[in-house]
């Protein structure tokens, strides 16, 4: 992983202890007084005190409607709201006006798919014609997608007559990028793919997919939900057209996420949700719309959550994403050692290179739910099920996996406790 000239990136024991002290929930006990071992950050992260305080402070000191009202509170609320946009934009290597607030990554993906639909039926005028889809046009996905980056595209295809194609994944769970030339064709209009799988943890090589998409003039859409909280992400450098990520996985509040879009694309894209706050002139029969990002932010926004998310981005920024990634790389190495436990099989890359500290696995002879239950009794929180990725599980011929996923506050001790708990599972169920 990344190193500097003088010190290896990562978190020292002192720094890690300080980080953990910032997360009040990590101090609680579960299941009869056991210390919590939280290994479900891939589903949702815990929140540092500063994020919680920021939301309370917003309501106690600054709460007002943003972008309207001439009073001092409205000014302060608007400033906090837009400062958060700038902070989040900086954090992901975007410009502030390229960040659209949404209720989450799912909403961000649906926003784009419905905007393309609207363009297809002629909304957005001449500028939006570039987004129109015709029957037989192709939308390219991957077999590793979360349902949130799959089902909205299925629906778009059904509405427009477009056809779905997809990259397969190899036996290690890595996307078959080598298939790019055959999967992405002259008919491809959109390529939507995950930056990192929430199941296998595999990090997708973005550059070759973007390069191939550009060759054929296709739009690219990156699901960055799993990458933004765990890796340095520079969306301009990645050169994707759109991206989505959620706040609650990156130490921020629930109910808030963001859509990134290249400025000239957002400017040409017709709105989806319409109403107040996104218009310029309204008559009884029609309306004109504001430029992005406001064009896509109808109605009252989740202001307190947005301000909290801005602080979460700053919190990660201050730790340094190089350090976060290096720390989690070490955890990935330790998590992968569960492959030594008899009966445990990892679904995903067996090596820590180009993967996150997200490790899904099966225990031969024991269902994932039962694995999770035994771990839970020891205070260890993991995710079980299909993790909203049924096609990927089907690819591996399984219905469910258990998944341990780390975050910046995860420790070696957490992983050790998990390893020990997991080692006892087959004995509990008398499986040999």
């Amino acid at each position: 992983m990344t190193t500097t000239d003088t010190v290896r990136a990562g978190l020292s024991a002192t720094e890690l202890a300080a980080v953990r002290a910032d997360f009040p929930l990590l101090a609680r006990t579960v299941r009869g007084g056991r210390p919590l071992v939280y290994l479900d950050s891939g589903a949702t992260s815990q929140k540092p005190q500063v994020v919680l305080d920021t939301e309370v402070d917003f309501y106690e000191e600054r709460n007002a409607a943003v972008h309207r009202g001439a009073h001092q509170l409205a000014e302060e609320a608007t400033e906090a709201f837009e400062d958060a946009r700038s902070a989040v934009a900086r954090f992901v290597g975007a410009d502030a006006d390229e960040i659209v607030w949404t209720s989450g990554a799912t909403a961000a993906i649906n926003l784009v798919t419905y905007a393309l639909s609207n363009a297809t039926i002629g909304r957005g005028g001449e500028a939006a014609r570039r987004f129109a889809l015709a029957p037989g046009d192709e939308i390219v996905l991957t077999e590793a997608e979360h349902h949130a980056n799959l089902v909205p595209w299925q629906e778009l295809a059904a509405r427009t007559g477009a056809v779905l194609r997809w990259f397969g994944v190899d036996d290690d769970g890595r996307i078959r990028v080598d298939e790019a030339d055959s999967v992405i064709t002259e008919r491809t209009r959109v390529v939507a793919f995950t930056h990192a799988s929430n199941v296998t943890g595999a990090i997708t090589p973005v550059a070759p997919i973007v390069a191939r998409a550009k060759e054929v003039g296709a739009l690219t859409f990156l699901d960055a939900c799993q990458s933004v909280p765990h890796l340095p992400v520079d969306l301009h450098a990645l050169d994707v057209d759109f991206a989505a990520f959620s706040g609650h996985k990156m130490l921020g509040p629930t109910g808030i996420g963001a859509l990134y879009g290249r400025r000239e694309l957002l400017e040409a894209l017709p709105p989806v949700t319409t109403g107040g706050s996104m218009i310029e002139v309204v008559t009884m029969t029609e309306a004109t719309y504001m430029p992005p990002p406001q064009r896509f932010e109808a109605g009252t926004q989740a202001v307190a959550q947005i301000v909290g998310l801005g602080v979460a981005a700053q919190y990660l920024d201050e730790l340094g994403m190089e350090n976060v990634a290096a720390h989690e790389h070490d955890l990935a190495v330790e998590l992968l050692s569960i492959a030594d436990i008899p009966g445990v099989r990892i679904i995903g890359p067996a090596v820590p290179e180009d993967r996150l500290a997200v490790v899904s696995f099966v225990v031969e002879g024991v269902h994932a739910h039962d694995v999770g239950q035994v771990l839970d009794a020891a205070g260890i929180a993991v995710r079980v099920g299909h993790h909203c990725a049924q096609p990927l599980h089907r690819r591996f011929g399984i219905a469910a996996t258990a998944r341990a996923s780390a975050s910046v506050y995860t420790t070696s001790e957490d992983v050790t406790a998990f390893r020990e708990g997991l080692a006892g599972v087959r004995a509990f169920f008398s499986v040999d």
């Binding site: 269902h367 739910h369 239950q373 049924q390 509990f428 169920f429 008398s430």
Partner: protein, 187 residues
């Protein structure tokens, strides 16, 4: 291991999960009323397809002559299917509905269980009392019972002689899965 974990994974549950009864479809007898239901637990992908055959020789008291199923899932769902198979095979349909109601009550008991006489009726199924302490697992235990209820509702067996006004076969007019008892006004 914590005591609540052991309360949940009673030996009888582990035994049923290891060699479940009723797994593997049996061939249906010619001319016998039967029903089939496919149920999934969308949160974990567990699924079951249940096939139930009825004996309607006495039209006033139809009974369940066989239960068989195919599926995959956690030990709780598999053991529950197995126990269900034992409990309702050979039982009058009305009795199987009653047992289903009792089992659903048990799952809502938050682990406290039911009155002793009711638990006696449930037999091995009372072993699932501990499951009711874990809200996320109640659906696992109910998967098979949901399949049974759906099977009864859609097979037509509930449209018995007391409902002779329903002259259509229920295959054409499936009853809503959520209220299979609705047509049984006389219960």
């Amino acid at each position: 291991m914590s005591s609540s974990l052991e309360q949940m994974y009673q030996q009888v549950i582990l035994d049923h999960a290891k060699s479940p009864h009723g797994r593997g479809f049996v061939d249906l007898s010619e001319g016998h009323l039967h029903g089939e239901s496919h149920q999934i637990n969308p949160t974990c992908g567990d699924e079951v397809t249940m096939r139930v055959e009825f004996d309607t020789a006495d039209p006033k008291v139809p009974t369940i002559s066989s239960v068989s199923w195919e599926g995959q899932g956690c030990s709780i769902s598999q053991a529950s299917l197995s126990v269900l198979t034992d409990l309702v095979t050979g039982a009058p349909v009305a009795e199987s509905e009653h047992l289903g109601d009792l089992f659903r009550q048990l799952m809502q008991s938050r682990g406290k269980g039911l009155d002793e006489d009711l638990e006696d009726e449930l037999g091995d199924a009372t072993a699932f009392t501990g499951v009711a302490q874990f809200p996320a697992r109640i659906k696992c235990a109910l998967l098979g019972w949901a399949a049974l209820r759906d099977t009864l509702a859609t097979s037509g067996v509930l449209v018995g002689p007391s409902a002779t006004t329903a002259d259509q076969s229920s295959a054409d007019t499936p009853l809503p899965a959520q209220s299979p008892q609705a047509p049984q006004e006389n219960r």
